[in-house]
Symmetry: C2
C-alpha cells in the first residue's frame, strides 16, 4: 500500500520487524463520533489493541455521517481504522456484565459521553476500578466531569464559541468564522491521549490506574496561546486579524500575480534579505520598519507597499526565489494540493486503507515518526460487530453456544 511504501523510505529507519510502541496496551473504547474516536485512533496507530463497543443494530452515529463510498462512511473509516468492533447492549444487565469482564482484562477505558451518563448506567470509574485497580479510565467530554456545566451537552461548535477561539478567527470586522476543522474535538482528543500516556507512565511506578478527565472547553482554552497573556497585560480585547499575526510583521497571506502566497518573516536578517531581494533596501533602513515592533506598529503604512511588491510575481516565482535566499515563503494549498505535496508524500502522511466491500479510502496518517518502532495505518475500520465473536471467544472464553444465546437475546 502507498502508506507502507511512503513510510519505508523514511520511517521506521530499521525496517518492518520493529515492535509497535503500544502493542502491549488493551483499550476498551466506548467513544462515539469524533473527540474520543480521534484519541483512540492515535492509540491504535501507535499499536494499541482497540476494542470499540457499539450498540447492537445501531453503532457509532458516525457510521451514518457522510460522505459514503458504497454503504461505508468515509468519515467513520478515517477515524476508526484498525479498531475492532464488538456489539454490546449496555442497557441490559448482561451487556454491562460482559463489559466489566473486558474491563477486568484491559489497560484503558476511554469514553466521551456527557458527564454522569456512564455513572447512571452503573459503569462509572468507581465500578470499573473495583473490577480492575490497574484500569486507567479516560473521559473526554464537552465540559469535563466537574464544575457547573458538567452534565450539559456540548458539541465542537458550542465549545468553539465559548472558548474564545472564534473571537480570534476570521477577518477584522467580518462575521464570526468557525475554525475550519473540528478543533475542539481534535484538541480534546489529543490532550486525552497525553493524559492517558501520562497515567500509564505513573502506573509503572504505582501499579495503580486512575481517572483522566479532559474537557473540550479546557483544551481549546489552553490553545488560545498568547491571547490570554496579551489581554492580561494590555487589557485590550484580542480580535480577529484576517491572515496576519498579532505581533509579527510581515507574517501573512499576500496576493501574487496569479493567486496567493504566504510570506512569514520572523527575524531582522530575513527582513533585510527580503528588502534587498525586491530591490527596496531602503525599506529595511526606514526607521518605521527597522524592527519587528516598528513594523507591527506601522502595519498600516507598510502593508500597501508590500502588497504592491508581492503582486508583481507569480506564487511559484516567489516560492522559488525567496526559497533560494532562505526567506520563509510558501504556497496557499487547498486539500488536493496538500495531498499531492512531495513532503507530505515523502513523510508517508497519506495512507491508503482497503475495505472489503467499499474499496480503497485515502486517510491522513499518524504524524508521530519513531526511529525504533512501527507506527502504521494499514487496516480499515470494522463493520458493526465484526469482531464480537472473536473477542468474546478469544479474550473472554465464551463458547459458541453462549455467543448464540447472547445474540438471540440481543445482548450482542
Amino acid at each position: 500500500m502507498s502508506e507502507d511504501a511512503g513510510q519505508s523510505r523514511t520511517w521506521p529507519v530499521r525496517g518492518g520487524s520493529l515492535p509497535r510502541p503500544l502493542e502491549d496496551v488493551l483499550v476498551i473504547d466506548l467513544t462515539r463520533v469524533l473527540a474520543g474516536p480521534f484519541a483512540t485512533m492515535i492509540l491504535r496507530d501507535l499499536g494499541a489493541t482497540v476494542i470499540k463497543i457499539e450498540q447492537p443494530g445501531v453503532g457509532d452515529e458516525a457510521r451514518g455521517i457522510g460522505p459514503f463510498r458504497g454503504d461505508v462512511s468515509a468519515y467513520f473509516m478515517s477515524i476508526n481504522r484498525g479498531k475492532k468492533s464488538v456489539t454490546l447492549d449496555l442497557k441490559k444487565p448482561e451487556g454491562r456484565r460482559i463489559l466489566l469482564e473486558l474491563v477486568a482484562r484491559a489497560d484503558l477505558v476511554v469514553e466521551n459521553f456527557r458527564g454522569g451518563v456512564l455513572e447512571r448506567l452503573g459503569l462509572g470509574y468507581d465500578v470499573m476500578r473495583s473490577v480492575n485497580p490497574r484500569i486507567i479510565y479516560a473521559a473526554c467530554s464537552g465540559f469535563g466531569h466537574t464544575g457547573p456545566y458538567a452534565e450539559r451537552p456540548a458539541y465542537d461548535m458550542i465549545v468553539q464559541g465559548m472558548s474564545g477561539i472564534i473571537s480570534l478567527n476570521g477577518q477584522e470586522d467580518g462575521p464570526p468564522a468557525r475554525v475550519g476543522t473540528s478543533i475542539g474535538n481534535l484538541s480534546g482528543g489529543l490532550f486525552t491521549v497525553v493524559g492517558i500516556l501520562t497515567a500509564l507512565h505513573q502506573r509503572e511506578r504505582t501499579g495503580k490506574g486512575q481517572k483522566v478527565d479532559v474537557a473540550l472547553l479546557d483544551s481549546l482554552f489552553a490553545l488560545l496561546e498568547n491571547a490570554v497573556a496579551r489581554y492580561d497585560v494590555d487589557g485590550e480585547i484580542p480580535r480577529p486579524l484576517g491572515s496576519r499575526h498579532p505581533s509579527i510583521t510581515p507574517f501573512e497571506v499576500f496576493e501574487s500575480s496569479d493567486g496567493h502566497v504566504v510570506i512569514a518573516l520572523c527575524n531582522e536578517k530575513h527582513w533585510r534579505l527580503f528588502c534587498e531581494h525586491v530591490g527596496r533596501p531602503g525599506l529595511a533602513s526606514d526607521a518605521r520598519f527597522a524592527d519587528n515592533k516598528s513594523r507591527t506598529d506601522n502595519y498600516d503604512s507598510l502593508l500597501p507597499l508590500l502588497r504592491k511588491i508581492v503582486r508583481r510575481r507569480s506564487s511559484r516565482e516567489w516560492i522559488e526565489t525567496l526559497g533560494r535566499i532562505g526567506v520563509p515563503c510558501g504556497p496557499l494549498n487547498n486539500v488536493p494540493q496538500v495531498m499531492a505535496d512531495p513532503q507530505i508524500q515523502a513523510r508517508g502522511m497519506l495512507a491508503e486503507i482497503e475495505h472489503a466491500r467499499a474499496g480503497k479510502f485515502r486517510v491522513t496518517a499518524c504524524p508521530i515518526k519513531l526511529s525504533d518502532a512501527r507506527v502504521e495505518v494499514t487496516e480499515p475500520a470494522p463493520d458493526l460487530g465484526q469482531h464480537t465473536e472473536e473477542v468474546l471467544s478469544t479474550l473472554l472464553g465464551y463458547s459458541r453456544g453462549e455467543i448464540a444465546r447472547l445474540r438471540k437475546e440481543q445482548v450482542i
Copy 2:
C-alpha cells in the same frame, strides 16, 4: 494562588500530597519560541523537571516578543512557567561537552531547530545516544527530519498555508484567514508530547531510547479531519464555510437581538425540540428539513427562516431557554468573557503565577485533570540563566571555581 484554589475544589480529588505524574522524568530542553516550548510546558505542568538551555546573553527569542510587564515578556512567561534556565554556548566545545554531560543524566532531549542544525553542531541523535542509550530525542520541526523540505525554514504561518487548513477557514468567497492562534505550532507540540510519552512507554520494555520526529506540517495535515475523506469520496475541493459545519445543520453562529449565539443540533430529537420550542413544529415535519441530510442539502432555504427566528431574542434568553430543554446552545465569548466563565474557573483553567520583579501573570492552565496525581501551574518562567549554577553544581558536581571560569570564558 487562584489556580490552587480552583483546582482544590475539583482536581486532584485526594488533596495536595499526591505525586506529580512525570516527577521522575528529566528533560533537557533546547527549544525556542513556541512549538517546542509548548511541548515541554505540558511535560513541566505534568511534573517533569525541564532544564531549558539558552544561549548566554541572548536566550530564547521569545523573551523579546511582547507584550511585556516590566521587563518580562508575558508571552515567554506563559509557555515557560516552572522550567529551569541554564545558559550554555553550544558553539563552544566546552558548551557542547557540558550539554552531553546533562544528556547522559537525562531521560529526554527536546529540540525544535530546523532539520540538520544540531547535527552540524555535532549534537545529533547518534551522538546523544552514544552518551546515553536510554535517551529519547524528540525533534519538532516545520517539515520533519526527512523528505525534500527537511532543511527548509518554516514558521507557523508557512505551515498553515501549506497544510490546507486556511483553505477551510474563514468566509465563503472571502479573503484567506489564518486560524486565529498558532495552531501549527500548538498541534505540532502536542503530537511531540504524545510521541515522547509513547517512546517512554516503549523504553519500559526495551530499556532503550529512540528518536521522535514530528513535523508541524504533518501535524496540521492530520487535523484536517473529514476534509481529506470528503475530497477522496466526492472529488469536490473543500472550501471555507464561515461558521457553519460542512455536513451538520443547523450548527453555526447566529445573530441574536443583542449579539451572537451558537446553536448546534446534532440529532433529530434536538431539532424537533427546537422547532416545538420556537412555535414552528411544522419545520420539523417539512420534508425539506426532516433529517440532517435534507437540512444540509436545503441549507439555503432553511437559513433565512432560522435567522429570522433567532434574531427575536437576546443571546442570554436563548442560552437559558434552550438550555432548559437540553438543546445545545452557547455564547460567543471573547477572551475576557471566557476567562470569567464559571466552568473555566471551576476547572482551575486560569492559573496565576508570580514573577519576583514583574509581579503576577494570568496564564491558561493544563487541561489534563488526573484523579491521583498533581497537575499544577504555580511557578513563573525563569530569568535567563537563573539556574545555571544550581544545575551545574547539583546535577553535574561542578565546583564554584570551575563555574566562575566557565562564566569568565563565556561558556555559560
